[in-house]
């Protein structure tokens, strides 16, 4: 009976639940898989001390029937750009750390995020996956041979990246211009009248705010969102620390 009601009046179905302040299903995030691959590149001429970090989000028809095969669609490109902005603004890693020899050689980190199962809220999932992958990166030591001017890579000595901040993204879906839901699933995103993503780091600094159109929000609501993002950051940070501790023996 509930299932029939759901198809006929999806919005009403959700409204009933929202009144009770609960959700009809367990929160499910789209699964993500990231890896970062290291490669050598020449640093850009306008910033000879910096390396590159190249993020790429891949939303294939594998994860949802919404996506078509072929060149990256709109959603994938927006997500890739969002991740690039988060990396840039939150300064997870200093690009200077990636430089091996000023003006000549620097590391290029390719971050490939592949979505395996899309159930809404990809931006949050992307940010976590990226953070976890960056924590896992091990860069081998590189020395430039003075005589031959070639790089010598020492695979035996590897060092981890210096992660400065831990940005955590929190997404909200706006319903009826008033109600806000944290961490929307795909159905909720589809029915929502707008979305908002807030990226905070551990010191309560705002790294990125992403509100692509949709219904308007008052300033008070926005403040409310940001305080919720701070609490979410604490929860997520605890979870992440547990995971990283269990990953330690390597």
């Amino acid at each position: 009976m509930a299932a029939g009601f759901k198809t006929v009046e999806p919005l009403e179905y959700y409204r009933r639940f929202l009144k009770e302040n609960c959700r009809p299903d367990g929160r499910e995030l789209g699964e993500f898989r990231t890896t970062t691959v290291n490669e050598f590149g020449a640093p850009p001429t306008d910033a000879p001390d910096k390396g590159y970090v190249v993020p790429n989000v891949d939303l294939s028809p594998l994860c949802s029937s919404r996506f078509r095969s072929g060149p990256p669609g709109e959603e994938a490109q927006v997500a890739s750009q969002f991740i690039a902005d988060v990396i840039e603004n939150s300064q997870i890693i200093q690009k200077e750390d990636l430089c091996i020899s000023s003006g000549k050689l620097a590391w290029v980190l390719y971050c490939d995020l592949i979505c395996l199962n899309h159930d809404g809220n990809i931006l949050d999932a992307c940010t976590f996956a990226l953070l976890a992958a960056l924590k896992n990166v091990q860069l081998p030591e590189v020395t430039i041979n003075e005589e031959t001017a070639l790089a010598e890579v020492n695979l035996k000595k590897k060092s981890c990246l210096n992660i400065r901040t831990h940005p955590v993204a929190t997404s909200f879906a706006v319903f009826d211009d008033t109600l806000l839901i944290v961490d929307p699933t795909e159905e909720e995103e589809h029915l929502a009248t707008g979305t908002l993503t807030v990226v905070m780091d551990e010191e309560g600094r705002l790294c990125c705010l992403h509100k692509p159109g949709g219904s308007g929000l008052t300033g008070a609501k926005l403040q409310d969102c940001m305080s919720r993002a701070v609490t979410r950051h604490k929860e997520v940070k605890k979870l992440m620390d547990e995971v990283f501790k269990s990953m330690k023996p390597k």
Binding site: P61, L62, C63, S65
Partner: protein
């Protein structure tokens, strides 16, 4: 060939297996709730994920609809991080298209397409880590995913690769053995009837040796079938427990 010895005098391969021995297979069905059918398989270090959507209405041009059967659409994609060096194009390149076509041909032989005319069945396969035998892993994962989706098939489709070194046929080649450059054969088998759905080999092999290699691949495919059968039964058992039967 100097350096790596693919088959030692005692009959052990590089990773310690015997000539006809398969790598360890671990598989799970129903990994994603979003898709109609999904499966994940690990054959040694090769990891493949298959997702099935369908049968559903034809996407795109209605003209492609077949009046008496379903259209099977396969896409093969290998992740940029699946190989040692970063792959620039995960899909759309020639090898991926060829693999997609081979998978489609394999599954058109196995799926009972007459039961779903004018509709489309999508099979997406993603290789997460490639360590040899990617075609075989894809076929095995896709079989489990199609079964998970409840699409009727004639039989399981089990695949395995085989090679030939020093007069012995090797089953289930790893990347090291494939890269060595000897003849390689990929076989997709329907185990109950013993029918071959797909057979592919592009290398020089004397016809006297063909039967030996084919036999090794067929035997290995049947071993794969035993494993997959067990996985399916276990999955069904777990599902019926959850449903409270």
């Amino acid at each position: 060939m100097a350096g790596l010895e693919l088959l030692s005098d005692q009959g052990y391969r590089v990773d310690g297996r015997r000539a006809g021995e398969l790598r360890k297979i671990q598989a799970r069905m129903g990994v994603f709730a979003q898709a109609d059918g999904s499966a994940y398989i690990e054959q040694g270090n090769t990891k493949a994920l298959a997702v099935v959507y369908g049968p559903h209405e034809i996407r795109g041009s209605r003209a492609r609809a077949l009046p008496d059967r379903a259209l099977v659409n396969c896409q093969y994609s290998s992740a940029t991080f699946s190989t040692g060096e970063r792959k620039r194009r995960p899909h759309g390149d020639r090898k991926s298209c060829e693999m997609g076509l081979q998978l489609r041909q394999t599954f058109e032989a196995a799926i009972l397409t007459q039961l779903h005319p004018r509709s489309q069945i999508d099979i997406y396969v993603q290789v997460l880590q490639a360590d040899g035998g990617t075609y075989a892993a894809c076929v095995n994962a896709a079989t489990l995913a199609v079964l998970d989706a409840g699409i009727p098939m004639r039989d399981f489709v089990c695949a395995c690769s085989a090679g030939f070194v020093d007069g012995t046929a090797l089953a289930d080649l790893s990347h090291v053995e494939e890269a060595a450059g000897g003849p390689q054969l990929a076989l997709a088998l329907l185990p109950a009837s013993g029918q071959i759905a797909l057979l592919e080999m592009d290398a020089r092999l004397h016809e006297d040796h063909l039967e030996q290699v084919l036999e090794a691949a067929a035997r290995a495919s049947r071993d794969v079938h035993t494993v997959l059968d067990r996985v399916v039964r276990q999955h069904v058992q777990e599902a019926s427990v959850l449903l409270g039967d």
